[in-house]
Symmetry: C2
Subunit: 337 residues, 2 copies
DNA sequence: AGTTAGCACTGTCAAGAGATGAGTGCTAAA
DNA sequence: TTTAGCACTCATCTCTTGACAGTGCTAACT
């Protein structure tokens, strides 16, 4: 159990280090805290023994450890409510009637990365839970048609289908009717299963078996629906953080961002809460000097995703966390149009 | 006019510098060129006076100037034909039947950036020249429909349209018929013009004027067609180039890549030829230590674009140029399916 | 018992001094 | 025209040094 003063010392160490990126010495704190530097040093020694802070070398000031950051986020930090930030900026993005949804998300993320000076990621919203509303096959040339799938939320996916020249148009129409019948209102996530099941049902087996190409096109269009799209912005913000003054680190980081392995970093969990993952808690090696703060959001019952901020472990949690919460809470406005 | 030996010296300077990124001294060349270092020094002095090479400081070896690189690319370089590279890798990407075109381009660009170790950009193909094949309005909810536009090449764009509850379905059908009639076979680039013209024609004026929302949705769907999409890959390759060992440069570069200002760098010209832009020839300030090599390509008569490689001015032109040409020449295979 | 002053000690960092070496230009001779 | 030779110039590396920002520990104070 920490004493009041120890808590305070830890809090100030974290906040000072977050601000300056310099190890914090006892004299600095003694100026803030009516105690002599020697007293502070004693507390620091205790905090170090307990694993909340560390030294960078034997005679350096102290730096928060991962455990220290966690304790700070969970126990010590008070979330700023009076932002020095203009929240109306965010509201404006969401209230623009005319913007397509994807663009709005992208813009909101841009804004978030500007406000925080960190990298931001938005995952989804995944269309897995939306349902098939209509399927069409539009002939384009003699041999090529476009398969369209439209969901109950108005998403569209398309896929080219090459059909042997002279395929019977009437028959295609019938096939489409059957597909529409079978798949209407089926959630995207279940289409594949449903489709495989139906193919083996007697009544349409004959009709379809000769033309596997359509089925394949279908399945591909649907997998594309299910793919989680993500929006990554503000990568270069990281380059201004002193922890990335080392080129080797920069390379590692940029390689990671470029590899599109983002999904390994963010859980697509349905949990409702905020997750803070600090340093080596991140599985991804390139991210082991970084912290990730993530919050799930829901545009509506069916479309859910996650937004996250990636920064150095020395992140302004105090500012990022409430900001992220605010943003996630207001994402649903995108659909209230 | 340069003597044979001077040409040779310049060629070797460029090639050695490209390889090692170290200024080239006279002794290095005298080993390659059965002449004494003093002789080489005399030639170097001449080349320097003519502006083909430079010193980094008074007693350093020589480095090619921008003029020197140009002369090299245009006069001295012989394009490698026997690659140490497996061109079949590229062919494989293009021959994969099942891959959607966008994915194929992306993958080809990925490959190119791996083969060259530079950053690659693909612009387009722009759909501006393709023609409207079919327009549809699919109702999704009471108040929202999806507008679909399909081109003669099978591209699809969609746009949500909010309609007042209770809009007459019959009438919508009629409107769509009219649109299809008006716009059938009109090139995307001309749709906006055509639409504005037709709106003022007597026969449909009444029908449409009350519902500007549909028109607007149309226009937006079409502008999205016309937007040139681009593919940017291998940004982080640049971080391994010694010219980017300076963090400030890295920041500038990454900011540029992130800003999506790529269009300022690449001309979307219809010219047939290869363009090499070296150093300060690039208008973009962040790119003034870089060279850009670009080549136009055509998937077919209607879909054209540009592919480019961005690297330091000290670029392996000898390898990049023929590789880029090869790739551009084979892009059309994407459509021969 | 908790707090503080004082002091010896430790590691980092920046500045300066040499030493080294790769390169040059120039001159005179082959 | 080419080459050998020499003096000279920078950049770069290493080493030393002093300043400085910290620490831990001990003994004294409240």
């Amino acid at each position: 159990m920490l004493t009041n003063r120890q808590n305070l010392v830890l809090k100030l160490i974290v906040e000072s280090f977050v601000k300056t990126a310099e190890p914090v010495g006892s004299r600095t704190l003694s100026k803030l805290l009516d105690f002599s530097s020697a007293t502070i040093r004693n507390d620091m020694a205790d905090l170090e023994e307990l694993g909340y802070i560390e030294k960078t070398h034997s005679s350096s000031g102290r730096v928060p450890s991962e455990k220290g950051y966690h304790y700070y986020v969970e126990e010590l930090m008070q979330e700023t409510t009076d932002f020095d930030i203009d929240l109306t900026l965010i509201d404006e993005v969401f209230s623009n009637q005319n913007m397509p949804r994807d663009d709005a998300i992208e813009q909101a993320m841009n804004l978030l990365s500007q406000l925080t000076n960190y990298t931001t990621i938005a995952l989804g919203p995944s269309a897995r839970n939306s349902k098939v509303k209509k399927i069409e096959l539009v002939p384009v040339t003699n041999t090529m048609s476009v398969l369209l799938v439209i969901t109950n939320l108005g998403h569209v996916e398309s896929k080219h289908v090459n059909l042997p020249d002279g395929t019977d148009a009437e028959e295609l129409t019938r096939i489409m009717e059957i597909f529409n019948e079978i798949l209407y209102d089926v959630p995207i996530a279940q289409v594949s299963e449903k489709l495989h099941y139906e193919i083996n049902q007697e009544k349409i087996k004959d009709l379809l078996s000769y033309n596997r190409r359509i089925i394949e096109a279908f399945l591909e269009a649907f997998t594309r629906f299910a793919q989680s799209k993500f929006y990554l912005t503000g990568q270069s913000n990281m380059l201004y953080q002193p922890e990335f003054s080392d080129l080797e680190r920069v390379r590692e980081l940029m390689n990671f961002f470029e590899k599109n392995d983002i999904l390994k970093l963010i859980d697509h969990s349905d949990s409702t809460g905020l997750t803070v993952r600090i340093g080596r808690e991140n599985q991804v090696t390139a991210m082991q000097n970084c912290s990730v703060v993530m919050v799930p959001y829901a545009l509506n019952e069916e479309e859910k995703g996650t937004i996250a901020v990636v920064g150095p472990t020395r992140m302004e949690y105090q500012k990022v966390i409430p900001l992220l919460k605010y943003l996630a809470a207001h994402m649903s406005k995108l659909y209230k149009k």
